[in-house]
Subunit: 330 residues, 2 copies
């Protein structure tokens, strides 16, 4: 019974398919001895809580609640799957309005009930926007809020492995940057196929376009195949992210994070960067981009700015110039 | 990347809620580098396979198939969630007919394609019967086939902990024996509450009856709360069982296993026993029973014999006298 921390881990949306999987994975990985399950849908949540008890985990105290104050008070780490689910045919952008408001309320709750929270992983879509809204509203530092973007990278890795008909883990160095949406940018400069640079493998352009399309459509493909949104993979990768923030194994897939310092000339968005999450939170570096990739990343950034401004226009997010009034770290 | 084994782990029913959770837990716990996902429902199965790829597990080769021969060939360890699901209001016994036939086919496949299989965990209900049918048909040894029964025990532990308002893990020594159904027998002789014998705690009879009822109804309560059968807890506990059979952490909750040697005067059934699973398979000992518990266990045994004979009457399972023709280990 040794846990990574005894501090409170809060799973928001724990009544749902992703959140319940997160709760179980956090327990199996012994992230915390103190796991709080929150969901406004109390009945389903109680079912998940009961299932966690039936697992018989040694040394873990679970609690469940639909009370926001009880849930957020003293939470040190938060993973949030809570948002309206994406349905077949919906783009991530369709979810914008409702989920941005949920994110705003979420950020307010953090500020009110757990301003000393150490790290938040936001995964509800469009995650680049919801993560940004949470950051602005919560008052936390930019290195303390990340969004799920790593699945785009593992999907790229998976599709490349299929193309070369090799084990997936023999494809290394994948990174998919920018927005977690249709404008994501697969960055291939550091990709190695069984140790050899991808650039030396001469994938025909039409084949690479196919790989890229399958990467982008990885999430919607799950909906087609399973008849529902993915739950296993987003839960797994986001739990790996919070594990890293708790001081466990470093997380080196790209994470969505706030870009403030003008790297690439970008600022005031959340987007997937070449990043590392560890006990100090998230940090990022400049990726090795081709001219074409840079142009794509510029386009992805522009798209994110547009979405951000749309949410500002909706009144859910304050104007950029006012952010520092809400969050002195911005 | 160190795995408990590189031998093939087969997850039967991996397209479903329980089986897909099993697949992920097996990967997270690094049970095997070689995990095969089988389900007759190929489309959903592919979705689960894709999700496993999107997790980006290092060093694990997943395959998925709806082909029985491909799935079972050379499988060393099998966990099977595959059966018709239990619906609200159905008893485990309602499932008897269909699932006994699925179990018979399963056993035949083991005999045909992986006679050297080391251990099988069967969890589809009524597990005492399906496990028995699998054992007889597969030709494996009795110590190589177990059925999921541990959830009854963790439910008893959970309900006792609620009653005493203490952390669940401070209740130790619970065991629920006999059939995994309404005639299960909570055995309390070795139960300790924060180190003190339960017998010294004087729970009023009506309160214990309540605890017992909640234990028995633990599974149907999940259906009521979540609107669907449990998936997280059966997947977790059964993966702990196969982990133990692979040589990992010993499994000491009761497992359903074949009783051949006349312990308590019982024979030729599968039922939950005070047992241990380790690399040698399952072994069991006589539990410390009160006279009342012994009478209940007798009744549970009789009920299991009746169900077994019903399945023999259906022609799905051979008559007991003929078992040795199918399985020389019986």
């Amino acid at each position: 019974m040794s846990f990574l921390t005894n501090k409170k881990l809060l799973i928001v949306g724990a009544g749902g398919a992703i959140g319940s999987t997160m709760a179980q994975l956090a327990a199996v990985k012994k992230l915390s001895s103190n796991i709080c399950l929150y969901d406004p849908y109390l009945q389903g949540l109680e079912g998940v809580y009961e299932e966690m008890r039936h697992c018989g985990f040694d040394g873990i105290n679970f609690e469940f609640t639909d009370n926001v104050e009880k849930a957020f008070t003293n939470a040190s780490f938060i993973v949030s799957s809570g948002g309206a689910p994406r349905k077949e045919g919906m783009t991530r952008e369709d979810l914008l309005k409702g989920n941005a408001q949920i994110a705003a309320d979420f950020g307010d709750n953090v500020k009110k009930y757990c301003p000393n929270c150490e790290h938040i992983v936001v995964i509800f879509n469009p995650a680049d926007i919801t993560g940004l809204v949470v950051l602005v509203k919560s008052g936390l530092k930019p290195n303390q809020v990340t969004t799920l973007a790593g699945l785009d990278t593992t999907r790229l890795q998976s599709e490349l492995a299929k193309y070369f008909n090799i084990p997936q883990y023999e494809v290394t160095g994948c990174a998919t940057l920018g927005g977690h949406g249709e404008k994501m940018v697969p960055v291939t400069s550091d990709v190695k196929i069984q140790g050899k640079p991808l650039s030396s493998m001469n994938i025909p352009a039409d084949k690479f376009a196919e790989i890229r399309l399958k990467t982008v459509q990885g999430g919607s493909n799950i909906i087609k195949l399973r008849g529902r949104s993915s739950n296993l993979s987003p839960a797994y990768v986001s739990i790996e992210m919070i594990e890293a923030a708790m001081g466990g194994k470093k997380f080196t897939l790209p994470a969505g994070c706030f870009v403030k310092d003008g790297m690439y000339g970008y600022k005031n968005v959340c987007m997937a960067m070449q990043s590392t999450i560890d006990a100090n939170g998230v940090s990022y570096t400049q990726a090795n981009l081709t001219a074409e990739e840079k142009a794509e990343l510029d386009a992805s950034y522009e798209h994110l700015c547009k979405m951000r401004d749309e949410v500002i226009g909706m009144g859910v997010l304050p104007a950029v110039a006012d952010w520092s009034k809400y969050n002195k770290n911005l």
